[in-house]
Amino acid sequence: MAKISSIKVDSKIPEGPLAEKWTNYKAHQKLVNPANKRKLDIIVVGTGLAGASAAASLGAMGFNVLNFCIQDSPRRAHSIAAQGGINAAKNYQNDGDSVYRLFYDTIKGGDYRAREANVYRLAEVSGAIIDQCVAQCVPFAREYGGLLANRSFGGAQVSRTFYARGQTGQQLLLGAYSALNYQVSQGTVKVFTRYEMLDLVIIDGRARGIIARNLVTGKVERFAAHAVVIGTGGYGNTYFLSTNAMGSNGSAALQCYRKGAWFANPCYAQIHPTCIPVHGDKQSKLTLMSESLRNDGRIWVPKKLEDAKALQAGKKHPNDIPDEDRDFYLERRYPAFGNLVPRDVASRAAKERCDAGFGVNNTGLAVFLDFKYAIQRLGEDVVRQRYGNLFDMYEEIADTNPYKEPMMIFPAIHYTMGGIWVDYELQTSVPGLFAIGEANFSDHGANRLGASALMQGLADGYFVLPYTIQNYLSDQIQVPRFSTDAPEFVAAEKAVTDKIAKLMAIKGKRSVDSIHKELGHVMWDYVGMARTKESLETALKKLAEVETLFWSDLFIPGAADTLNVELEKALRLLDFIEIGKLMAYDALNREESCGGHFREEHQTEEGEAKRDDENFSYVACWKYTGDGQEPELIKEDLNYQYIKVQQRNYKN
């Protein structure tokens, strides 16, 4: 049993009715006048949708911003790879959408494990994001009449998703990148590319800077500021194989955790139902096929076990199986939402069919996503126009033509709903430290709906943090710029260089990747799509073994004081092991099933996730207590005042 802390959590939810909270907050928050903004420095780590939009907006307001990324350009952040779209409650389709409905769908989609006030605010600012992006020249899809087009995504019965072909993340990120470039040209933002944050510096209990390593020279450097913002994304690469980019990592978040910021709901990891299946042991990552494909594609496996066996043996072609022998299991189980059920539901349903022996590829771990019916209904040209780039991508990887035969897909780790705990102001439990985008835990509860990540990243960066951070900075105007010669900086830098020296000195025989793969197997097998008390206890034992292996047998070639990719990966892996443990602790503690967290002991007779609202309607915040120690659990109770909490129903 986890040790439970008696700390009382203040999430700083403003007073007043739900729909007026954000308005009230903005009306009463403290501001910083323009002359004082110039005197205040803000470090923003990360240049994805959240980081770039925050850095650009804070720069535009007049703050002095230092923006860091590990890639060679801010435009490479992994937000760039988001395909499908961005939700906004514009109701342009006149199909009954509203701020309330987007709020409701998001809370329900998150399986009632997110804060009402945060989610309502997210829905409230969603429309302004689209306005901002259009003003930046983001080329969203349009109808012939010249107005913006929409499509549907999982977990919604309205059409509220804005998109730019299958490259929405790219276009939104390039929009934010252009806003960032404008601020760089104005001298308000300075961008540090190929820099990796390796520690957070705290002075008198407040976040006052970071230690970062220049990845080209290997030099460890100090940066001071009045506030620090973390927008470094999620920790899906704990599993080694995921849809994340190779460099995506949870290290910045974990450094904040080690310095006192609570880590919330680490066990909520999203497994995306439509990814290209694993093909071999040399594979480096999994490729996502956009959820938008479920608008027109139909998911199926054979009805007859003998057909599945023939497919697995390569003795039968999917097109030879007649319609009456196909089991469209999502349409069968969830008639109201069909192929557009939320991601967690679709992933578990695929696993259920494959576990029962109906998988369709040589490993038995794949289902079909078929466009035959859409092509019959719409013609190949329309399908090509909607999904052409995704089909090309599929064909290049899988070497089959999805216009002629069904795609094969399987669930893969995609997004992490858990992250650094933040209050309503997006401030962590460390004063002066803020977390935005996927790096925080706030808005998606136990499961994120499709097209909501882009919305949340940009909401935090453009329209929430620029307000709330002022409330903190307003009493910092008298605080002079900090010298990086302060003893706290010296100590933090020494801790980093000592850690690097220790890693370099192991001089074992194993490469970083080979150990990371072992970690990935432990996580997928024991902390994956279906978890049990037993599997999680096994995971913790095996994670300890992986950690021992890391410290005894790791080998990093080259030197620390120069470019060293293996060293970069080793530092991240060390943190992934710690995150893996946090995920297992959290999953073990949460004796219920909700959203992306499925405990086999807790399911309905029909195999659906069974929540326990009486005992688990809380945010699980984990507080660091020292290396090798079990973290402490702090509970933030979730109180639903405006909506009725119920069992999610996508059946009717």
Binding site: G146, N181, V191, F555
Partner: protein, 251 residues
Amino acid sequence: MDKNISFTLKVWRQRGPKEKGAFATYEMKDIPGDTSFLEMLDILNESLVNKGEEPIVFDHDCREGICGMCSLYVNGHPHGPATGATTCQLYMRRFKDGDTITVEPWRSAAFPVIRDLMVDRTAFDKIQQAGGYVSINTGGMPDANALPIGKDIAEEAMDAAACIGCGACVAACKNGSAMLFVSAKVSQFALLPQGKPEAAKRAKSMIAKMDELGFGNCTNTRACEAECPKCISISNIARLNREFIKAKLKD
């Protein structure tokens, strides 16, 4: 199922920007055809690390063809022999048993080598900072549907906006010109009403920055278009030239 192949790999290795580089030769055995080109380099790097050697350094990140980070010059082509694909989207089934495969970094005066196959492309960021934006702050924007934009115009802008900023156009060009990259951004903004007010200024300042950073001029060889992983059309260069001339005439 794809067959396994064996081949010889010649890889450019260079310790730093000022140091002399040379090709190193590696024999690769039994690589499955469904391995991506970068996964093949991962396999090689794993074997180098296991021998106590330093791995080959190369840029890569998303491995799904959208981040623009990967940048290998394979057998004389930026991003290798496949058309409309980045290096990370290249699969070994494209090669034959017994082949010799040559891998080099982007070669351009404006993209100095950092190490091995990794180059410095900050010049691209600098060009964008010179005008690749609409000069607006956050908030207070008109409703997104206030201004209708023809579907064909939006589609054309999207074609140009698809550029991933990888630099293959520069690597392919005998003059080391960045015109395709610059023109893609200038076109996207010039086509859309929100970008029009600054179109002239943008074309001039981005071209001036490009010249200043040591990129060459365009002589219409169309190598950039042929090698672009996103098939960006050189008609964008024509539009850039028109915008540039219009701007100059106004001076």
